[in-house]
Every structure is written in C-alpha cells, then in structure tokens.
Symmetry: D3
C-alpha cells in the first residue's frame, strides 16, 4: 500500500519530521511518500495560508493518483483542501485534525487541543464544530508560539507545550491531548510519557486510519458530494488543473 | 462606497447578470464593481471547483484593497474563499449563501434552499451547519440542473426551479426560499411573484449587508482569526501572493 | 423610507439617545421616527418587564402601519415583542440583540455580549440559543449595573463597561463585543476606539439591516408563522387590539 | 394545595373543559382554580395573540399570589407568559407544552405533537428548540383546524385528530403523541384508547408536575433570571402592574 | 400506589436514607418500597460498577412487576439500567439524575450538578447530553469525595459539598444545584437553607414524578423502543432472566 | 497483536460469521479471537437484551486482559458494555456502531443506517446522538426483520436489506450505508457491489480501527472516566466480578 503524506507547507525540515513520524507507525507493507507541494506558504497560520496550501494539497493528490497512491494524509492541523482532495482521490483522504479527533474519541471521553498561534484558534473551533466534536472537545489551548519555532534549535517550545498539556488534564478534565500542529509529530511519545496520558499526533493517527480504510476496501464515496469533479474548462494559470472526463 | 462583487467563476455572462442584480439594489452613492477572476473554473459545482475559485476570490480582494474597495460580496452559493478573503480585507466580506440565510432569518422562521446539481448538496449542508442555521433550514432541494443551464436560451430551468420553490412552501412549511446559485440572481422578483412568498437572492442581499456594515463603520475584525496574514515567503507560482508586513 | 425605532421602555432620555444613534447611521432618504410606548416599564430588566414592553412595541407597530412605516427596530437587547410585531408588520422588524448578533457574525468568528444587571443574563442566553448563535457567542458578561445608571451624570458606568469589553477580548478570545443594552447606543465609537476591536451597537445595526431588507423588497414573510393575525374578538382592556380581517 | 389553572384565552367553555381535566387528576388535597383572564383573545393562534394572552396570564398569577395559590399551570400549548409569570410566583409555574414534553420524555423515546392551525407550527418549533427537546420531537403535525372548532358540536375535528395521531405512530415512529392545544384536554383517554399508545395532555400533566414540585418544597428559584421583578414605575394603562418592592 | 425505590448499590445504610427521603415526600396513598439488589457493587463510581448495578435494578423491577409495583425510581445519579428497566415495567421508571434535571428545568434557567468522585464526571456529561440538557447545565462540579464518605460519621463531606454548591451560584450563575448522588438525599433541606437557592434531590424528585405519571395513567410507552422484551432463550447464569412471551 | 472480537450474543453461528469477517481484514500479524460470552441472550433486540449482553462483554474483556489481548471489538450494533469495558481494558475497545460511523465519516458526507427490528431504532438514535453524529446520519432504516433471520437458509432477508440500502442512496441522499447488525458482517462486499456505494460493516471496521490504535501505542486513557474501576466488594452472584486493587 502506498500512502502519500502531504505536508501542506513548503518547509521541508518539517516534511521530513512528518515523514519520519509516518514511517514509524506504518505497517510493513506500507510505503510512505512524504512531500511538500512545489508552491505555497512556508507555514500555515490562518485561513489565507490555508487557501493556498489547499491547492498544493490538490496538486499532490492529482499526482498521487497518477503515481498509484492508495490514500492520503493531509499533515496540517487545519486540514486544508480536504474536501477538494476527496473529490479527486479514489482512495481515502484524511486530515490530521480529523484523524486525531477520531482517535481521541475512541479512547476517551474528552480531549483538549494544544496548538500554536492564537490566531489559528478560529480554524480549530470551526473544525471541531464541523466534525461534530463539540461535546468531545474540552478546550483549545493556544501557546501563541509560531509554527516554525518548533523547527528552531534551542527553543523552549517543547517545555511550554508540555506545560499546557498538563493543564489540559487538570484544568479542563481532558483525558487526552491532541497535538495541534504537524510540526509536533515527533513529540507524541515524549509528551505521553511526560503527562501520563495519551498525547495524540494526527500524522501517525492519519496514516493508521488510511491504512485501515484501504484494507477495508473503503475509498472515498463517489456518490454525492465527493464524486469526481465534472469536466469543464479552467482559465488562466489554473487551466492545467481543469477536470477532465 | 465601492463594493466589489466577485463572481468566483469565469463565466462573464453570469458576472454581468450578477453585476446587474447588484446595481439594481445598490444605494445611490454605491459603486458596484462586478468581476470574475482571471483564472479558475467556468462554473462551480463541488469542493474541487471551490478550492480554485477561492484563489481567484482572494486575488480580486487583494486587488480590491489596492483599488480602494470598501467591501466585497462573494457571489457563489458555496461562499468560496470567504474566511481567507476576510483576513486581507479591511472592510466586510460577505458570501451570498451567508447573506441569504441571514436575510431569511430576519423575515421568517424557516427557509428552504433551492439549488442546482445534486452533488452540491454537501456544500450547502456544510454551510448551514457552520453558520448555525440548522434549526432555520427546512430543506435543501436540488433540481439537478447544471449551473450553466441558467445561461442557456430556451432552457426550461426557470419552470423547474419555480416548481421546486412552490413545493418548498407546501411540503417543507418554509416561509421563504433561498435561490441557491449566483446564476439565479435575476429571478428574485419573478419567483417572489410566482410563489407569493419571499424568494431571496444572495447577491442583492450581500450588497445591502455590505453597505449596511460599511455605513456602520464595521469592517472585518482584525483581532483573532481574521487578523492580517503574517508576512512570510510563499514558494512557486504562489510567490506573488506571499503576505507582506 | 420611514423606519420607526421603538425604545420599548418609557424613559425618553434613552429614546432620544437611541434616536440619535439611529439617525447618525441612517441613509439620506431614511426618516427615523424614534418613540417610546405610551405605557409600560421605565426600564426593562427581566421577563416581567419585557411582557409589558411587548404590548407597547405592538402598539407602536400598529400605529406605524397606519403611519406608513416601512420597517421597525425594537431597541431593547431582549428583543421584546419581536415575533408578535412581525405578524402585524408588512415590512421587516428587527430586534437589536438579533441585529448585533447578525452583524457580529458577518465580521468575526465570535462575540461576547457585555450588558447590565446580572438578572438579565437568562434573557440573553435564551436569545443566543433561539437565534442559533451558540457557537458564535464566547461569553455573556454582566456588569451588574442597572439600566438607568447609563442615564446618570457622573456615573462610572462607562469605565466599568469598557473594562469588561477589554476582558472579553483577552479572556474570552472574542473578536467583537456586543453592547447589550439600548442605552449603550452612544458608546459604539468610543468603545471601539478604546478596545481596538469592533464594539457593535444593535440600534444602529438594526437600522441598517432594516434599510437593507426594505431596499431588497423584503418584508416579513406572510406565509406560516408571521402571517397577519386572524380576525377575532379580544375582551377587556385589550379589545381595541383585536385583529380585524 | 391550591393550583390555579389559567386558560390564557377568554373562551370560558374551554376554561371549563380545562378545569374539568385538571380536577380529574388532582390529588385529594388539591384545590383547582380554573380561570380565564378578564382581557385578551378568545383563542390563541399565533405570536400576536400570545403577547396579549401573556398579560392576562400575568394578571392571574398576580392575583393568585394574593389568593395564596401554591402553583400555576398555563393552559395554552404556546406557554404564553411563562417566564414573566415565574418572576412573580413564589411557587412553580408550568406551561402545558413544557409539561407534556417533559412527561413524554419520561415514558418514551420520541413524541410527535398534533395540533391545530398550520400557522402555530412556528410557536411549537420555537418551544421544542428552547426546551432542548429537538432530539425527542419526531414531528409536529398540524391539522389546520381552528382552535375553536374543538368547541363546536358536530365537528369532525376529533376524527381528524385521531387519524393524525395514528400517522404519528406509523410514519414518525413516535411512541407517544402530545395533544397540542388546551382545548384537547378532554381527549387524552379517548385518543390513548384509540391509538394504543400514550396521548399526553399538557393540562393534566401540568397539574401533576406542579403538585410534585410543591410537595418537594420547590418553588421558582429566586436567584438569577426568575428573581422578583425590580420595583420601578410603569406608565399609562400598565401603571397598576408596576412591580413594588 | 406502590413505588419501588431502588438503590442500585448494595449498601443498605444508604438504602435506608434513600427510603426515608422517598417516604418524606410520598403522597398519603403511596407505599414506598426501598430496596437494594441482592447482588452488585457496594457503591457506584464509574461505568463498570453501573453495568452490574443495572442487572440488580432489572432484577428488582422484574420482582416489582410481580409484586404489583406501579412505578420505579432508580436511586443512583448515573441512572443505571434505566432503558432496560423501562422495557419490562408497565408503569413509569425514572432515574434520579433525570428526575433532578427535569425538576430543575421547571423552576429555573440553569443548574449545576455537584457530585462526588472526579471519575464520574464522564457519566454525568453523558447524561446531560443524552437528556437534551446541555443548554441548561451550567457546570458539573466534582468534590472528589468517595460515595461512601457520605455514610461516615464525623466526615466533613457536608461542609465541602455546601461550599461547592455556593460556588455554583456565584461562579456558574446557576439558579439551582443538583445533588449528584443518591447518598445526598438527606441534604436537600439543609443545603437549600444554607445556600438560599433550590438544592434538588433526585430521589424525592423521582418519587413525585413517578406519582405524577401514574396518576395521569401514563406508564412507559409500549410502542417502539420500550416495548416488552421479545421472548428468547438466555444462556448460562442469565437463563432465569430470559424474557418470556 | 491479539484482538478479541466479542459477539455479545450467544449464537455461535453468528460468532463464526463475525470471526470470519474479522479475519478477512486482519493484518498478517494480528490474531483474531472471536467469542461469545458464556451467558446472555441469543440475540440482542432492545435495551433489556443489551444490559445482559454488557456483562457478557465485560466478562470476555476481563478474561482477555489475562489472555494478553491488545484490543477488543464489541460486535453488536448497539455497542453494549462499551464504556464499562473501557475501564478494564488497557488497550482500545471499539463498538461496531461506533466503528462504522467513524469510518463513514472519513469517506463521505452522510450515511444511512440499515438495520433489523423496528424496536431497535431507539438504540441507534441514542448512539448517533451520543457519538456526535447527528449531522452525519441521514436516516435510520429498519427492515423489521428479526436478527436471527440473517442466519436462516432460504430467507429473503438479503434482498430486503439491499433494496433498503438502495433507497438510502436515492431517497436519503446518503453516500454510504452502515450495515446495522453484526449478523450482516458477511454482506459488505456484496452490498457494496450491488448498490455501487460503500456498505460499511462495523466488525471489519472495528478490527482495523483497533489495529490502528494499538499500532499507535494508544490504549484507553486511564485518566478520568475510563480509569481502572476502584477496588470494592460486590455482593451476590457478581462477587467474582468485584474490582481489585
């Protein structure tokens, strides 16, 4: 099975970290292809960044279909481009926010999301509501650290995140914590150990959920909303993306 | 006041129709600039089309800020690019699905959406949920007509739509009907007359809501989720879209 | 266009303030008629006051229909009499709580209401739920000031309110603040400036929404729940209010 | 114990029927006082009628407090004046829509409301939502019969209602039916027998719930939203209703 | 009327306290039978305990049907076995969490639950959601006291609980407090007096609600989900519980 | 990895079918142990059956912990005993209703459940609500076939089920169908082929989700609600089930 893990931003140090997290949990027969799009933002911190990242995600899924990919993980905690990607993928496509929330739902009663810049809170609130997780989400805690701080040597980002995760357990009565950024995907084991409760990484969760769906023979449903895009012309720089019959 | 009405698809016959609907309701001092992006799908029928349309919308809002636009209407019933556009606009940005739902909420107890291709039902369900309109939305009725059918001479699309609007009143107990496509923006008066109840067009509703907000001195809040995008590099073909400080 | 702005309480200093706020935003061709009912409570602080205020509102709408009013704003943050008023108005009727919540929804992700006496919290919770704004409302902050304190010279009510608005932004992560009382309608500009984020006044919002709806040709739907009251006898002191055919 | 059952309309044949239903279930020591207000609509079919009926209800509760009443039932399926009445009552106040929905929740999984004029559907939708009964309410079925039809000799209203109740069981999968009008309070036993499932009358349910609360020593909470109205002047014809300290 | 009050745990000192609370409010003609099952946990603190307690509850309801019981109260704040018990009871079955929440809904706008071990929070969150009380429940406050602490001489559990109830009023803006454990059923009067607001005990509430339903002729609906269990074999130690035709 | 798949009823022909479905999708290194409890109902059709089945499930999980099982699937579409089982399992426990709903959420916008006896509708409504899937569930279609009909030779149950699945797509606009009974676990491939859209079996979905969670190192969270049961005595026939420290 071939799963493409798409880091929707173009910071390859993060892509490598994400790829490593994916490979660490992949089943023996699973090939992980970890990529960043050839275009778009170096980090995703808001709806504007997400809109461009979505095109990059779509581009990688388009290529992935030609490359024989069986499924996809969108490795940014805003799940950019998820619905669009589902229209063009035969197999399943899972976002890491979605993956982490579903995983948390299966092992506990309520989770808290711990994430980065305050401004991204709105994205997460939107996803929690859209995924029907309102009564599962105890809190959203933003550390107000920039995403790329996680890539810095000598940063005390880890310590700040761990402290916030601890508060999630004691103050929010959460029984798990979601690591709300693709760049945290190397921290799952460490934080789980530090706080004594599950710290859930969406990247590894996403890989395992895609593996599960593919093994079940379940691809994205082609009835209704995720049917193949209708063939039509696209103009200008997006002409190459026009759906064909 | 200068309001840019953006038809997110690139079919200019529809853009002209939308522009005419906007101008028909605009206040004396309001200048309507009706445009289509220079790139993207000729019609929007699903999430994939929407993702590309969102970039076109963003591009027009970026230009609009330089052109001194005071507000924006996104004239596609899936409201593509709305959240991203809000980050870069000082003034208000309103989508036509959002505008129509808010207008309906102020004049009645429950609306039905009447729209085009069955596959777009998912988009509308998502918006109804996201906007908190679940208990206001009586039904979503898809005629399964393609969007561009509305641009065809001799089409019986109007008759089919009117019939569906009638059913909304009698079968769904709706007290208004939302015209679920920018391409229906010329039908508001006709259908209202035919069915004897408000048929609400989002384009004209959107123009009046933007005028209202601008007159109130209310632009998009720059606290939290719709703050100006953070300056950062974008790579590849999106480099020109990189936010600057 | 003629819009009647009804202050549901009988304190005319407040009515004048409300009228001024309305006129300050009204379009050139809009005539604002600001009134208080000839009967009812001097301030509205609870459900009991609201029940009587509702009759006053109805009385003013009845007269307004005879006077050729095109629309109405109910200028108390509990929106008393709103549904009843809609049955007898041809044009739109908007309450200021409703108006402020809709305006906030169009320019941000989440608002906090800042209002007066603690006891009115229940009214606001009820309205937030009824209007489908649960996931938009970050908090309701009651200052526990009496409504008429706002009419007092030398009161420090403004300072208290501004402080609470500031907390809404930092503690609730709200991106706008709703001024939860008709008597705050002169504070919109001041508070917006002080807190650096939109402080939304329902009176001015209501006027602009009514103008918008009237310009769209949208009156209250006469299908279903807001149809004209059925002609029937009323007994006792309410006989003059009996609906006629 | 003395319970005042208030028929909010002024049709005394209905008041007598309601009083009889109340007395039929009252405990030995319970005195039922069944009244109609001295003012207001002869029947309640919409929000406008309800606004006036609310004042009549309030008037009767005010008198009731002086008369030593221990609790109140508001015998109209729109529960007019309920919140206001709670502010002035020491004891409990229960509306019949509320009572019927709570009773149904305790004996089954889902109910359907069967009621009269189509235009009142909006009231019931509002109450179902406000009371948190959305997931318990299977359907609202309006027979489109006027309320006073139930008082007519030779009417086939009963047959129509019974037929609709039967459909509630088979088509809506309801396990109980709520009789959605005070004027149906004599039909509980008959319809239960005819359809072979509980047909719940709010009047008798309300009496028993009030008895239960009074026996528990539970009156309306005087903390927060239902505290005693604040003393203040009322002007005009409502001056006699002004709250006193 | 004969009401069986089932303490689902096997600690008879608690059963006696519960029985006393039930008898204290029962109507003259009501016989209270207070029992504990002959098997199961000595206290109920979590889902595992509840699963076994449910069988004990069922056993007591089965016997109760043979003994001519008219209704049942399940006297543990997790309402264990409620749905199953309803299938085999002709009369009504009410859980004390359910009873307390319904009672609170009829006398106020919002309640806080005050209960025992932190680990039981999940059960209460689940019930609040399942009963549609999300917008009525202001908070759930766990004192982290073990259930049997309430049975200890010299414990300061009462003082801790009262303090938490006070906070519910001032910090949560609740207007009533639910005593979230059958073992608190003797504290209703004391705490109500101490905090000056209703402290609602589910045991006494449950008895009065069952009395009310029985007096109304309302038993558990035998249509749909609570129909009599289908006759079928049960194997092993549960063979004696097999439903018969 | 060792996964125990528990058919909560005691009909071993169904257990074998379920075991086969589980093995068909299990990863190479996964050992499937398919069992039925030694006690309990032969089929599960209602809440009463579920209560007993829950004890059987618990018993098998208890044994499973001693046997070194890494995770569990509860193979009845009412997910009996799920929360209790989670308290005693170190690894993950997944119910098949839960598993099917989560899988459907990841590949489509809305599902319909197709299941057996009408009386079980209430269980499924409860689960949809409890799992936060209300806006994902398009409909619940009960065929009114008894569960064991699926084990009968020559039954036309399959044809009836397939027909209902087809209606789910065309009438409910579902994009997938959930097979609402463990006894349908052999029909996933057949029905998917017949209807041309995903027919999701919870047994195989559950196995893959448990495999995924175990591979991620995620067991049931032992913080809060699913912590290990507190050591305490159990009396009577349940004494052997008493939790120990």
């Amino acid at each position: 099975m071939k799963i493409k893990v798409i880091n929707p931003n173009t910071t390859w140090t993060m892509t490598e970290k994400i790829g490593a997290a994916a490979r660490a949990v992949a089943a023996p027969g699973t090939e992980i292809v970890a990529v960043s799009p050839s275009m778009g933002p170096v980090s995703i911190e808001g709806f504007y960044d997400e809109a461009f990242a979505a095109i990059g995600v779509i581009d990688e899924v388009r290529k992935g279909e030609a490359e024989g990919c069986d499924g996809y993980v969108i490795a940014c905690f805003g799940d950019p481009g998820l619905a669009a990607a589902r229209e063009i993928a035969r197999g399943p496509v899972v976002g890491i926010a979605e993956a982490a929330m579903h995983a948390a739902s299966l092992i506990g009663n309520g989770f808290t999301i711990v994430s980065m810049l305050e401004r991204s809170r709105a994205t997460m609130e939107h996803l929690v509501h859209a995924y029907g997780m309102t009564h599962k989400c105890r809190n959203i805690r933003m550390t107000d650290l920039p995403v790329l701080e996680l890539e810095e040597e000598g940063s005390n980002a880890q310590a700040i995140i761990i402290e916030e995760c601890r508060r999630a357990l004691t103050e929010d009565h959460a029984d798990s914590v979601l690591l709300g950024c693709g760049g945290m995907s190397d921290l799952m084991a460490l934080i789980t150990r530090e706080i004594g409760a599950p710290a859930i990484d969406g990247v590894s969760s996403g890989v395992k959920l895609v593996e599960a769906l593919v093994s079940l023979g379940l691809g994205t449903s082609k009835r209704q909303g995720y049917a193949k895009p209708i063939a039509k012309p696209y103009t200008g720089q997006f002409a190459p993306f026009a759906p064909v019959a």
